[in-house]
């Protein structure tokens, strides 16, 4: 009897020892098809070695994932890696000691890493003022315009519009054949931040927040006023329609062929390929010739991977290995092909070109090309605190413009006024 129980205990002990891989938890916000690709990448990493096991866990959208991360950190139950989006970057980077900067992590655990390997539009957003990367860019995208090729054929338009002036002319023709010209998702991103970047306009003081805590937002300016008054005008004329603030609702209008053009993310590519029942094409974000010619670079949206502090040495070794794995040209190309997010390193972009990917799918290159345009003074992005709330204010005021309740100038001035208060509050909190 005694020997039986001893044997049982010994077997259990052996089993526990055999399963001594280090677990690495990864909280992410990639749903649907994107989540499947995330799981595939983690599985590939796990199968390539047996010291570490990465477990990706879907936590909801970007905001939900960040909220979950904040709550977990406060309860001392933070995951190892978390995906934080652009609007949340100032909050997590500003909180001293919460994250382990990836530049330091790579240095300590012998991962060869050079910031110059990254495409210019990607490099700066998640780095500190000295150029040291704090978060590791993961899914980077930029706003692009998708257009319904069949609708354009019907309306007799040869090429998609490169400028908003051309768009106005195309919308008239499209209306004749029963299409509303345009819908757009996430207006603060597609028709706010990147509008400013495309026209090389300053977003906030303190060098858009990179040089210190910004206190003034500059959303109200002649170009923005003009564009948003136009959007209101186009709404009344039937050239533009706002389907609510949900990303999917505005994309759905494009799927349902109610609108002929849609401002979405270069990362929407993968889903569109599967779901659209018509021929579609991708083109650059339009710009106003009267304010800039040609249009300037846009910057990345999407998210980066941040590593929480306070974990064991063993875990950090594994995390460093995993992050390095994710940035290899092979994995970047795989991610790019499966999702439409841009390859973030020059090497990965070169691999895709060599593989002839862009010959078969030229639409997939638009986003990278737009990001690779020459960098100008105000095309580097932003780092602004309380930005989730500021985006909420922007969305509300945009809705006021589109409903005809306020002129663009009034609404955008209100955005600046309210945002300045939030920015000041943020600066005070981190004193």
């Amino acid at each position: 009897m005694k020997s039986k129980s001893l044997l049982f205990i010994a077997t259990c002990a052996m089993a526990l020892n055999l399963n001594a891989t280090t677990d690495i938890t990864w909280w992410h916000a990639m749903g649907g098809r994107l989540g499947e690709v995330v799981n595939e990448m983690a599985t590939k990493f796990n199968n390539s070695q047996n010291e570490y096991k990465v477990t990706p866990i879907y936590k909801g959208g970007y905001e939900d994932t960040m909220t979950a991360g904040i709550a977990a950190y406060r309860a001392h139950q933070a995951p190892d890696i978390i995906q934080i989006f652009d609007a949340g970057s100032a909050t997590i980077i500003g909180a001293k000691g919460v994250v382990y900067p990836v530049a330091d992590l790579f240095d300590k655990y012998g991962v060869k890493f050079n910031a110059q390997d990254y495409i210019s539009g990607v490099r700066n957003f998640y780095a500190n003022s000295k150029g040291r990367m704090i978060g590791s860019p993961f899914n980077s995208s930029t706003p692009v315009m998708y257009y319904n090729k069949d609708a354009f054929k019907k309306a007799g338009i040869k090429n998609p519009p490169a400028t908003w002036e051309e768009f106005e002319k195309d919308a008239v023709l499209l209306k004749k054949v029963g299409y509303i010209g345009l819908s757009q998702s996430l207006s603060p991103w597609t028709a706010g931040e990147n509008f400013m970047s495309r026209h090389n306009l300053q977003m906030a003081n303190k060098n858009n927040g990179f040089d210190g805590f910004a206190t003034k937002l500059y959303y109200e300016n002649p170009a923005m006023d003009y564009h948003w008054d136009k959007l209101r005008d186009w709404t009344t004329k039937g050239y533009f329609k706002y389907y609510g603030r949900g990303w999917a609702d505005n994309q759905q209008a494009f799927y349902d062929q109610k609108v002929a053009m849609w401002l979405g993310s270069s990362g929407s590519f993968g889903g569109l390929r599967k779901g659209a029942k018509f021929n579609f094409g991708t083109t650059y974000l339009p710009y106003w010739k009267k304010f800039i010619n040609p249009g300037a670079q846009t910057f990345i949206g999407g998210a980066a991977l941040f590593v929480f502090s306070g974990k064991s040495d063993k875990k950090y070794k594994g995390i460093a290995k995993f992050l390095q794995y994710l940035t290899t040209p092979k994995m970047q190309y795989f991610w790019h092909k499966s999702t439409g997010y841009v390859p973030i390193t020059k090497a990965a972009y070169a691999l895709a070109k060599k593989d002839g990917y862009y010959k078969t799918t030229p639409d997939a290159e638009i986003g990278i090309k737009q990001l690779s345009l020459p960098t100008q003074k105000w095309t580097k992005g932003y780092r602004l605190g309380n930005y989730v709330q500021i985006r909420e204010i922007m969305t509300i005021e945009f809705e006021n413009i589109l409903n005809g309740k306020k002129t663009a100038k009034q609404a955008l001035s209100d955005v600046d006024r309210k945002a300045d208060k939030l920015l000041a509050k943020f600066a005070r909190t981190y004193r």
Binding site: T395, K421, Y430
Partner: protein, 292 residues
């Protein structure tokens, strides 16, 4: 019946301790923490904390969005209370007068009570959806430019409708049992004295329902202030233009999505004081008029 008596002094305390612990952990402790947080400014991750006296209260009360939310909450709760109480009373009175199918009506009208607010909101969002919703299409056919994603009035009306609908069954069941508690002799006497149905209802039956009405009045207001969170979160989420946020929903948005612990705690304390004042007012002045 034999009365049970405990000789041990401590056993009664033992019996109430589970409830007291729950109240302490889930009500007292969070309230104290909210008061504490309302006086500090803390970053989302809790790394830097600063004591700022009444700054958070000032920021909350000087913000025009707060008053928009406050106004909406008051109008919303008044309308929801009015509609759901009156519909509940009407249905209860009619059902009470039935003899044969009373049981069936009672069961069917009770079912919405079992639904969670989030479920109700989700179901309703299908009916009111701009691409596929039946009610959306119906209202637009009637000529109303109903559009909850861009027109605040449509969204507010939709919320009032959904929230009232959910609450009708609660009021119905309490009113029904209140009506059945009225002594038969009183009803028979009133039948002889008064020919008019409505006069009988308003002068005899309704005053006798006063305890039930008072109780339901308070629970309806609490419901529309707080329990409608699930409905708002699954339908409008405060859009469009931030005009469909109740105070409770605004606290959630500022605290959890905006990661503003200090500001949202200050708003919570203000709301707590407001509800306290309303409750005191209700018990002091309204209860006097209730005849038990």
């Amino acid at each position: 019946m034999k009365k049970v008596q405990f000789n041990n002094k401590f056993i009664p305390y033992l019996f109430v301790s589970p409830q007291i612990i729950i109240i302490l952990v889930f009500f007292i402790w969070p309230s104290v923490m909210a008061i504490y947080y309302s006086f500090v400014m803390q970053d989302a991750f809790g790394v830097s904390t600063q004591f700022v006296w009444f700054q958070n209260y000032k920021d909350a009360l000087l913000n025009s969005d707060y008053y928009a939310s406050f106004g909406f909450t008051l109008i919303f709760s008044s309308l929801v209370t009015l509609f759901s109480l009156s519909m509940g009373l009407f249905l209860a009175h009619k059902t009470n007068n039935m003899i044969k199918s009373r049981g069936i009506y009672r069961t069917l009208l009770m079912w919405p009570y079992a639904l969670a607010p989030a479920v109700v909101g989700l179901m309703a969002s299908f009916f009111f959806n701009q691409s596929h919703g039946d009610i959306y299409r119906f209202l637009n056919q009637l000529g109303w430019k109903f559009d909850p994603t861009s027109d605040p009035f449509s969204a507010q009306a939709m919320l009032v409708f959904i929230a009232s609908w959910k609450q009708i069954s609660v009021n119905f069941i309490f009113f029904l049992s209140g009506l059945q508690g009225i002594p038969k002799s009183v009803l028979e006497a009133s039948l002889i004295d008064c020919k008019s149905n409505s006069k009988r209802f308003w002068t005899i039956i309704f005053p006798l329902l006063a305890p039930t009405t008072f109780f339901l009045f308070i629970t309806n207001i609490t419901y529309s202030f707080f329990d409608t969170f699930g409905i708002i979160d699954t339908t409008t989420r405060g859009t469009p233009m931030g005009q469909t946020k109740t105070l409770a929903y605004k606290i959630y948005q500022d605290g959890f999505l905006g990661a503003d612990i200090g500001g949202s705690s200050a708003q919570s304390v203000i709301l707590m004081l407001f509800v306290l004042v309303i409750t005191i007012f209700q018990f002091k002045y309204l209860e006097k008029k209730v005849h038990y």
